[in-house]
């Protein structure tokens, strides 16, 4: 039984001048139109997407930034309409593209529960029935009649998620909501999602965290630049996503969209000791990451962070390069990171780079930017391949003493 049928869905955005932003511009364009042809800058955020979701299935949507995942969710949630194509959905839909949509700072926790519930499509009677459960789940009983502006971020998130978690739609559409909040909170969210999927409800789930996708979804689709390029078992899709086109992913060059930032990464490459671009490394080889950045305006205290994640999207380590030594007049700078030999065990890894001012401001954040893999060229562990020995070589020392 098909719950969702998507048929040739496309969405086009027109960028630039053609969309008037003021009556004055609209008037001017109206005058000009007969004379000059207005230049159109079109972008297909989605192009000819077709797929089905079966009743009770949990489908994952995977893709890099800008692949069209969010646009697809927005169309299926009816927030925006497609340019062409159609979709048919059987059943009551609830979409969670954000937790706490419509929460108002001036209103109390109690008032926000009802408001947010109604916004998410719950009936008043339904909210009343589940009210105690929601409150218990959120753990904010004592502050129920306090305006949420006095809540800590954690309390706010818990309350917001508690409402969402008590939705009982037939179809649930979820975007990255798990990316926010602390580990405890994420665990709670994932647990709840798992619970929901076991009750036979249909779920569409988007996340950058391959671990969560693999855990929740049996089947996934992969989007790339607005096109659906794969629909299969989640493990196969994740593998394809992580391995496919890696040759290209040993380097990154910024496109025009990044250049307006105060500072941005112009170029990033993974190279070996000889300075040659490479994506596959022996375990006993150094891995060098060279990052070139451009400064439009120097942000005091900025740092360049590199996060190395494994194939499941789990962070292995983080290194922050401080930029305080830079000359105030410099327009560019370079950072070289070196991962020493015998650090990472055989696996696929991704690199995330971000420019930020600690505790203040994220200037640029580039997830899943570069990829590389490490293979074992002959440790004693290599003989029993496939056994999980962890992600890093243990720095742990040991000693045996004669008893």
């Amino acid at each position: 039984m098909k719950t969702i049928e998507v048929d040739n869905l496309s969405k086009q955005y027109v960028l630039g001048e053609t969309r008037a932003n003021s009556l004055r511009d609209a008037f001017r364009n109206f005058i000009r139109k007969p004379l000059g042809n207005s230049k159109k800058n079109e972008l297909w955020a989605l192009k000819d997407i077709s797929f089905d979701v079966k009743d009770g299935e949990t489908l994952g949507i995977i893709g890099r930034n800008g692949a069209g995942k969010s646009t697809l969710l927005k169309i299926l949630s009816r927030i925006t309409k497609p340019t062409s194509g159609s979709a048919r959905i059987h059943g009551r839909v609830a979409s969670l593209l954000e937790v706490g949509t419509g929460f108002h700072n001036e209103l109390t926790g109690r008032e926000n529960i009802f408001l947010n519930g109604a916004i998410l499509g719950m009936r008043r009677s339904e909210i009343e029935t589940k009210f105690d459960e929601i409150v218990a789940f959120s753990e904010v009983e004592q502050f129920l009649d306090t305006p949420v502006k006095h809540y800590s971020t954690g309390m706010y998130m818990r309350l917001a998620f508690a409402v969402a978690a008590h939705l009982e739609p037939e179809i649930l559409i979820v975007d990255e909501v798990l990316a926010v909040g602390d580990a405890e909170f994420q665990k709670k969210c994932l647990g709840k999602m798992n619970e929901v999927s076991k009750t036979g409800r249909t779920i569409i789930f988007v996340s950058h965290q391959m671990g969560s996708i693999a855990q929740l979804c049996r089947r996934s689709i992969l989007l790339e630049k607005g096109r659906l390029i794969m629909a299969d078992h989640t493990n196969l899709v994740i593998e394809h996503y992580l391995n496919h086109g890696k040759a290209k992913l040993a380097s990154y060059t910024a496109d025009a969209s990044a250049t307006h930032r105060e500072m941005y990464v112009q170029n990033g490459t993974i190279v070996n000791n000889a300075g040659v671009e490479q994506t596959s490394f022996r375990h006993d080889e150094s891995i060098l990451i060279n990052v070139k950045c451009v400064i439009n305006r120097m942000m005091q205290g900025a740092e360049l962070r590199m996060v190395v994640k494994d194939g499941r999207g789990i962070t292995i380590f983080t290194t922050d390069a401080e930029l305080s030594s830079l000359n105030a007049k410099s327009k560019t700078f370079e950072v070289d990171y070196k991962i020493p030999p015998n650090t990472l065990r055989p696996n696929t890894f991704s690199i995330e780079l971000s420019l930020f001012v600690p505790h203040q401001h994220i200037i640029e954040s580039l997830a899943d930017l570069l990829f590389f893999s490490v293979f074992d060229s002959g440790t004693k562990y290599a003989q029993s391949e496939g056994v999980d020995y962890g992600v890093i070589f243990s720095p742990c020392e040991w000693a045996v003493k004669q008893g």
Binding site: M1, T3, L9, Y13, R19, A20, N21, S22, L23, R24, A26, D55, G56, K74, I75, L76, S77, R78, I79, T80, K81, P82, T83, S84, G85, S86, A87, R88, I89, H90, G91, R92, V93, S95, L97, E98, T101, G102, H104, E106, L107, E111, F114, L115, A118, I119, L120, G121, R123, R124, E170, G200
Partner: protein, 279 residues
């Protein structure tokens, strides 16, 4: 199998932009509770922050009336059919302030609720409707002032008072129509908020708020009644003070309201599909 039952219950079809222009009334009916909660939210927020909120609602009509009374009883004396001039002005001001406040606030209702529009689906008309509904409370708070003034001036009340709610309803429909229109326009054209105060000012002067319609030559009255506020305010006054209803004027104004509402809904439907992409 339970899953078969639920499959037959609701089917949503997603179709391209602009392919339907009808209004899905069933969808609105199923979201009626959201209208209630959004209205409640707007009311709470407006009155929660300060006590000044309520004081302002009371002070505004009183002060405006006082100023207009002083000005016009000095410079121009309008014939107001035995209705004391302050009372005459106040009855118009009460309606005008509702119209003015509600349209001003409602025109920004989408731009002030960006995350609702970009993160969840619901029939969009609910946003301007809730915003206009919330402003009714202002009107309800200012009505007792009118009653106090009527008692003070010793104006009697006739059976016609039962007609008053009808004209308040017309005032609401008209205000909602303008609110819907400007709120949609404001998503696309951000300078609407600069043009709006000017429009409202002209409108106030063109409405019989501090002067009576009887001032005009008979044949011009009907033209004047195309302004919906003419029929609303004249009708409201006739209900309060027991003077004769001017049915042709009220009729033309009512028709005008329907036309404006139809235009507003049409424009809204044309634009709402793109709200989430433009806002």
């Amino acid at each position: 199998m339970p899953s078969d039952n639920k499959q037959s219950s609701i089917v949503t079809r997603i179709v391209p932009t602009g392919s339907t222009l009808g209004i899905d009334w069933k969808d609105y009916w199923s979201h009626r509770e959201l209208l209630y909660f959004l209205t409640l939210r707007d009311v709470r927020i407006r009155y929660k922050q300060t006590l000044i909120g309520i004081a302002w609602v009371v002070l505004q009509p009183v002060l405006t009336t006082a100023i207009l009374t002083v000005i016009f009883s000095t410079f121009a004396r309008f014939e107001t059919l035995n209705v004391p001039y302050p009372l005459f002005v106040l009855s118009g001001i009460v309606i005008w302030l509702f119209v003015h406040t509600a349209i001003t606030i409602t025109s920004g209702s989408f731009t002030n609720n960006t995350n609702l529009v970009t993160k969840v689906y619901f029939p969009r008309l609910i946003v301007p409707l809730a915003s206009t509904l919330a402003c009714i409370l202002d009107l309800l708070i200012s009505l007792p002032i009118l009653i106090v003034m009527m008692v003070y001036f010793g104006t009697g009340v006739s059976w016609q008072i039962v007609m008053a709610p009808l004209f308040l309803l017309l005032a609401f429909v008209q205000t909602a129509a303008f609110g819907i229109f400007f709120s949609a326009l404001n998503v696309r054209f951000r300078d609407v908020k600069f043009a709006l105060p000017f429009f409202l000012q002209i409108w106030m002067l063109a409405s019989p708020i501090f002067y009576p319609v009887s001032l005009l030559p008979e044949k011009w009255k009907i033209v004047f009644a195309v302004n919906p506020l003419t029929g609303i305010i004249e009708g409201f006054r006739a209900s309060l003070f027991g003077t004769a209803f001017d049915w042709p004027v009220i009729g033309v104004s009512s028709l005008s309201i329907l036309v404006i509402l139809a235009i507003a809904l049409f424009v809204f439907r044309r634009m709402e599909d793109d709200f989430a992409d433009l806002i």
